[in-house]
């Protein structure tokens, strides 16, 4: 476990992910302040407590990057002429793959959960400074939902990377999807079923005024997203255990 944590701490990509995740939320609150004030003045906001937490959406890229590099770093070829990969050394040290994956997952969850809690606190603190009482602080339940969404998103990217074994595909996919207008959101316009994609349904855990064809209660939303992650992790785990490294 400490070996996996130290490996993560040695990755420049992991630090980049950590910083993006922590700073993007507060930064966006400041940058987006004029638009939020206008929306408040127009009265178009359906749930004012959403306004603080919704800025966490883009900061999630940080969690995604952490989830991706945890795995993709194992499969990156060394730049020397051996072309060796970290995964060979890792499996030599920890041959039991289920155990290895368990420890790796635990290390990631630990880091990302800490990051999620800090990012939520920072974002809400900056929101309080910028908007004062105009944007009420959301309750504890919604903050917990936001952190859970954060951790589950990282695990989603992590499971995906175990399957693809390359950082490019999941990184591009998740970045495109965290774009200002997400692809999942565009898909909900094509078919209402897309509202059950993990990133859309999971957001109901902490946002209430979302534009979506369905509005499941936070607990149900959390369960659906957790189910997505559990299924993907199980599939990825099976592949990791069965496949040649």
């Amino acid at each position: 476990m400490s070996a996996e944590l130290r490996k993560l701490a040695g990755l420049p990509g992991a630090w980049a992910g950590l910083l993006i995740g922590l700073l993007a939320g507060p930064l966006l609150v400041v940058l987006n302040a004029p638009a939020v004030r206008r929306a408040l003045a127009d009265g178009t906001v359906t749930d004012r407590a959403d306004l603080g937490l919704q800025h966490l959406g883009l900061a999630l890229i940080g969690a995604t990057v952490l989830g991706v590099v945890t795995i993709s770093s194992e499969y990156t070829r060394a730049r020397d002429d051996t072309g060796s990969r970290q995964v060979s050394a890792t499996l030599l040290a920890t041959p039991r793959r289920v155990r290895l994956l368990g420890v790796k997952t635990a290390a990631l969850v630990l880091v990302v959960a800490g990051q999620g809690v800090l990012a939520t606190i920072l974002t809400l603190a900056v929101t309080a400074v910028v908007h004062g009482t105009a944007v009420p602080a959301p309750g504890w339940g919604r903050c917990a939902g936001a952190v859970l969404f954060w951790v589950l998103t990282a695990l989603l990217a992590y499971a995906f990377t175990i399957v693809t074994r390359s950082g490019i595909v999941p990184l591009v996919l998740f970045l495109v999807n965290s774009s200002v207008v997400s692809v999942s959101y565009l898909l909900t316009k094509l078919t209402p079923a897309a509202a059950y994609l993990p990133d859309i349904v999971g957001a109901h855990m902490f946002l209430h005024g979302m534009d979506s064809p369905v509005h499941p209660p936070p607990l149900v939303a959390g369960l659906i997203m957790t189910a997505w992650v559990a299924v993907l992790l199980a599939a990825a785990g099976t592949l990791f255990v069965r496949r040649d490294a």
Binding site: T76, S166, I168, L171, V172, L175, V176, S178, L186
Partner: protein
């Protein structure tokens, strides 16, 4: 010399399974979403694949680096043109085809400077999908100056500049 290098580089690109996969996903996305704002990410990946894979082998086969850089740019143009044209037509924006080809070329240059596939793809997609749109929302005039706003003019200038820098760096730096 140069025609042989172009033929070799085109052959290399067209036999990378990831290139075909990217092309297919890009066209499906263009057909499904009917827009290019997200779809252009496919061209970024295409360029990144060309710019970061098998660089050492390429230089072993074509040691003249200027020739290698030129051949790569021509091969990317050849490979990206049908994908760009298809995506632009599917999105009902036929005029944007040239912009998409330039996007792939720009990604080739940037990624060959960064020399790490995932880092390049992350940086480029992060810029095109997130930083760029956020900047445009704050400073609308930035669309006329940056390469990511589906405008041919700025994209052309940026692409030429980045490719020139990448070619110089490729000929000067240890591979």
């Amino acid at each position: 010399m140069i025609t042989a290098a172009v033929r070799a580089e085109t052959g290399r690109l067209l036999t990378l399974p990831a290139v075909w996969l990217t092309a297919a996903v890009t066209l499906v996305a263009a057909g499904l979403l009917r827009e290019l704002d997200h779809t252009q990410a496919g061209l970024l990946v295409l360029g990144t694949l060309a710019g970061t894979t098998e660089v050492r082998t390429t230089l072993l086969a074509v040691p003249r680096r200027g020739t290698a850089a030129t051949a790569r740019a021509v091969a990317v143009t050849l490979a990206a043109t049908p994908v760009s044209a298809g995506a632009a037509l599917l999105a009902d924006r036929a005029g944007a085809a040239a912009y998409l080809v330039m996007t792939a070329l720009l990604a080739t240059g940037v990624s060959s400077l960064i020399r790490h596939p995932a880092a390049s793809a992350g940086l480029l997609t992060g810029w095109y999908m997130i930083a760029g749109p956020v900047l445009r929302a704050l400073v609308p005039a930035s669309a006329g100056w940056l390469p990511d706003a589906l405008r041919t003019g700025p994209a052309l200038v940026w692409t030429i500049a980045v490719l020139a820098v990448a070619a110089v760096v490729l000929s000067r730096r240890d591979a």
